[in-house]
Every structure is written in C-alpha cells, then in structure tokens.
Amino acid sequence: MDEPTAPPDPSAKPPAATGTVYRHRLATRIWHWINAIAIFIMIGSGIGILNAHPRLYWGQYGANFDHAWLDLRPYGNILRSGWLTIPAGYDLAISRRWHLLFALVLGFGLLAFMIASLINRHFQRDLRVRAGEIGPRQLWADLLAHLRFDFHNPDDPAAYNTLQKLAYVAAIFVLIPLMIFTGLAMSPGMDAAWPWLIELFGGRQSARSIHFIAASGIVLFVIVHLTLVVLAGPIEEIWSMITGRWTLPAPPPPPEPAPAEHAGPEAAE
C-alpha cells in the first residue's frame, strides 16, 4: 500500500488473479489454531461456570439478595443446553478444570503471539490501522464493499481491509486481554498477589460482569469471523491459515454503471 499503483482498468482482467501469495506467517498460523481451540473451550466451559450463578452485579460484592444488572435465569434452558457447555451436563468442577487449564493456553498463547508478531512485524505491517483509513468516508466505503461481498483490494489483495483490521485489533488487544485480566481479578489468590487488579475493574463482581461482556464480544467476533470466512471462500481461507499460502481470488464482476469504489481508501491518502 506504500507504493501507489495506477488504478486498475476495471474491464481488464488483473494479471495477479492467478497464483498464490504467502499471507500468514508461521507464528500467526500456530497461534490462530491453538487460540481457536482455547476460545472454543473457554466459551463452552465459561457458560458451564456461569450457570452456577447466572446473575451479574457491579461492585465489590454481589449475591442473591443484591441487585443484579443482568439476570440470565430466564435463559437457563438455553444456557444449560448440552450443545453449548463443556461438559454437556452441568458440572461446575469439571467446567472449572477445563476453563482454568485452557486459560493458561489462552494467556500464554497470546503473550507468545504478541512477542512473535512484534519480532516478525506482523503487527506493524498487517494490523497497523493508519489514520487515513478510519475517516467516516473510508469506513463507509469499506462497509459498502463488505455488503457487496467484496473483501479484497485488487491492488493488494492479501492486505486486510480496514474493518477487518479493526476487528482483529479489537480481539487481540482489547477483548482477549480483558478476558485474561478480568479472569485473574476473580481469583482470590491473585487479588492478594496483585491488589491493583481488583481496583482496576472496581471490584470482583464488576470484573465478573466485564468478563461476561468481553466474552460476548468474542462470541460476536467469532460469528462475524466465521461468516466472513464462509463468504470470502472458506476452502481458500482455511487452507491459507494452514499452509500460509493463499490463492488470489478471482476479481469481482465489474459493478454495473457505478464508478469503481475500490480506489476509495487509497485515493483519499
């Protein structure tokens, strides 16, 4: 994106449409799959744990006689469905075993990925959101492109688009770290070791509520992520996350009479 290229002639078939590019580095691929497993287990076991007391509070304390800002008991039938929880039947102890083991995978996995991605410059090269990308006009153009199922900039098809970058940045730098730190804040041992944790979140029950909200954010991320993988061409996308090599997509059919929107973000820079 640093080198400006001439806007493509929409009637010509771009020559780059064949072949593959190296898109995902090894560290990204390893972390992606380890993390996918960890998130899957954390969500299932987390719902299992939530079912032990499906009420959420703000502040330091919160129990049955206190005001709950969210009471999930009416949804108990759904939250206790066997297809949603690990294990399938309600078993707080086993849910906790899964959750607290895979919390280590999630936490140390993220740490290792962050270090590797600083060293191999994945963060700087692929995830850096530039100021020119996040103007309302550029975001609107990117949103319209998404609605046309048009995910790739023909000039640099392997680059992430802006909304994609923002989603990854939100997951990697906001949601998962929030999960980890609110999770730690719920541990009575960690509250003694790191008393600032509980102060940061305004109490253990607030930490528990934020844990739930961030988890909901991750569930939303996973749904959108998987939907877009399916829409963008699941075989190619999954294959590229295994091998690193990504088959360049066929160019989208030229939009009928409307001017090409593609030049949008680049032209603005």
């Binding site: 206190d66 960690m190 003694a192 008393p195």
Partner: protein
C-alpha cells in the same frame, strides 16, 4: 463457491462444533487426558505461589462496603444430636480439639479461643459459584493456635473436621502450612460483630481468605496437623475435592 456449498459448510461447521463438544467430554473421561486436565490446578497453584508473597494479604474493606445480607450456602445446619445439644447449651461444653502432629494436643473452649490475641478483618467471601459477599470476621490467628499446640515441623497440612455430615461422613477441608500460618487465616467465632450464627458455621468457621468459599470450613470441631492427606476421606483433601473433583487449591 456456490451457496449450496456454503450452506453445507455452515451445517458441517455446526455439526463439527457439536462433535468437538462431545469430543471434549469423551476426552475428559480418558485417564490420560484427565490427568492433563487436572494438572491445571498444580500449574495455577505454582504460578500463584511464585507471584504471591507468602504473607500477601487478601483485600480488606471498610464497614460501609459490607454486604447488606450475607447469604448462607452449603449446609446451614448440621442438625445432628451432638450439634443440637451444643446449640442448646450455647456451646458452653463444646471444645475445639487440636491434635495430630503436635506436641501438646489442645481442647479449647470458646473462652480459651477468645483469650488468644484476636484479629478482625472485613473480607470478601468468594463462592466457587461466582457470587461474593463482604463480611467482618474475628478470631485468633490459626498460626498462633498451632504454635500453642506445638505443631511439629513434620506437619505439612492442617485438616479441619466439621460437625456437618454429608452422606454420613463429616465435611472436612485441608490447607497447607503456607495458608495455615498466613496472618488472615483465623478461627472466626464472630461474624459482623456477633457470634457466628448456625447458618454461617457456629461456633467456629475457618477463614482462609486467599481461597474460595468451600475452603472456609464451617462448624469446625477438630483440627489435625498431618504429614499427608492420604487416608483421610478419599485422600484428596476435602469433601468436595473427594466427591465432585473440586480443586484442592482454591486460590483461583
């Protein structure tokens, strides 16, 4: 990619997720994997102990921060003949027995317990289920009581045997010597400036503040210093640990 293939993939994905979930349960039943699953407890304990000063205190609160209502949980009345007699006598003839690997086994009355230097603390009780309640607890530090009994250096765990019966056997819990000698580990006879009620564990409730609620044994009748947890109950160090796989290390 045609829509049909996409639909197949979505259905396949959902089925796959379902299979993965039931796969998790199958895995968790295999002894080898179960050992891995249960190893998280030791890793977390090791990490927490490495990060934590031995005497690092659990957060304490001010009187205004206390829960208006401190709910009860688990057993709220042992209701055995012995226990009911002690309640009727207001625990006048009750004695806390301290034995095992000690030089001077003790039998302490409530006034003996009150004669030790007292510690009062307003702390948060965190149930494994997820709720928390803040209350005030007062009693002697367990460490001082153990010193008075002359606890031996061969002791590695302190076991608490309680008055409440679960399927015929008394509730019990255990902690190691790090927690036994922690300054906030007290034998609480007072809660919120009154004698501990029957619902909350009269006459004595263990407070071990860096652990979840189930470690904070109610109705403590006996305290034993032991070298090993093997042979006590089913050997896992507590009623819930023995029967439903709760972690012995409840700092998380």
């Amino acid at each position: 990619m045609t829509l049909i293939t996409r639909r197949t993939l979505v259905t396949g994905g959902a089925l796959g997720a379902g299979l993965l979930l039931s796969g998790c349960d199958k895995l968790a039943q295999q002894p080898g994997f179960r050992r891995i699953l249960f190893s998280g407890e030791k890793i977390n304990m090791g990490l927490q102990r490495a990060l934590m000063d031995r005497n690092a205190l659990a957060p304490e609160f001010s009187a205004e921060q206390m829960s208006p209502v401190f709910r009860t949980n688990g057993n709220s009345n042992p209701n055995t003949a012995d226990y009911n007699r002690h309640v009727a006598e207001n625990f006048a003839n009750w004695r806390l027995e301290i034995g095992g690997l000690v030089d001077r086994p003790l039998r302490l009355s409530l006034s003996d317990i009150g004669a030790f230097p007292q510690r009062a603390q307003i702390t948060r009780h965190d149930c494994v289920e997820g709720w928390s309640a803040i209350g005030k607890w007062q009693g002697p530090m367990l460490g001082n009581v153990l010193k008075a009994a002359g606890v031996r250096t061969s002791a590695r765990y302190i076991v608490f045997t309680c008055a409440d019966l679960w399927s015929g056997a008394p509730y019990y819990e255990s902690i190691d010597m790090v927690d036994a000698f922690h300054p906030q580990t007290i034998l609480a006879w007072a809660m919120n400036d009154k004698r501990v009620s029957v619902g909350h564990g009269a006459p004595i409730r263990l407070r071990v503040e860096r652990h979840l609620g189930y470690k904070n044994a109610k109705y403590v009748m006996r305290i034993d210093a032991v070298a090993s947890l093997a042979g006590i109950g089913l050997g896992k160090g507590g009623y819930w640990e023995d029967h439903v796989n709760y972690d012995w290390y409840a700092g998380i």
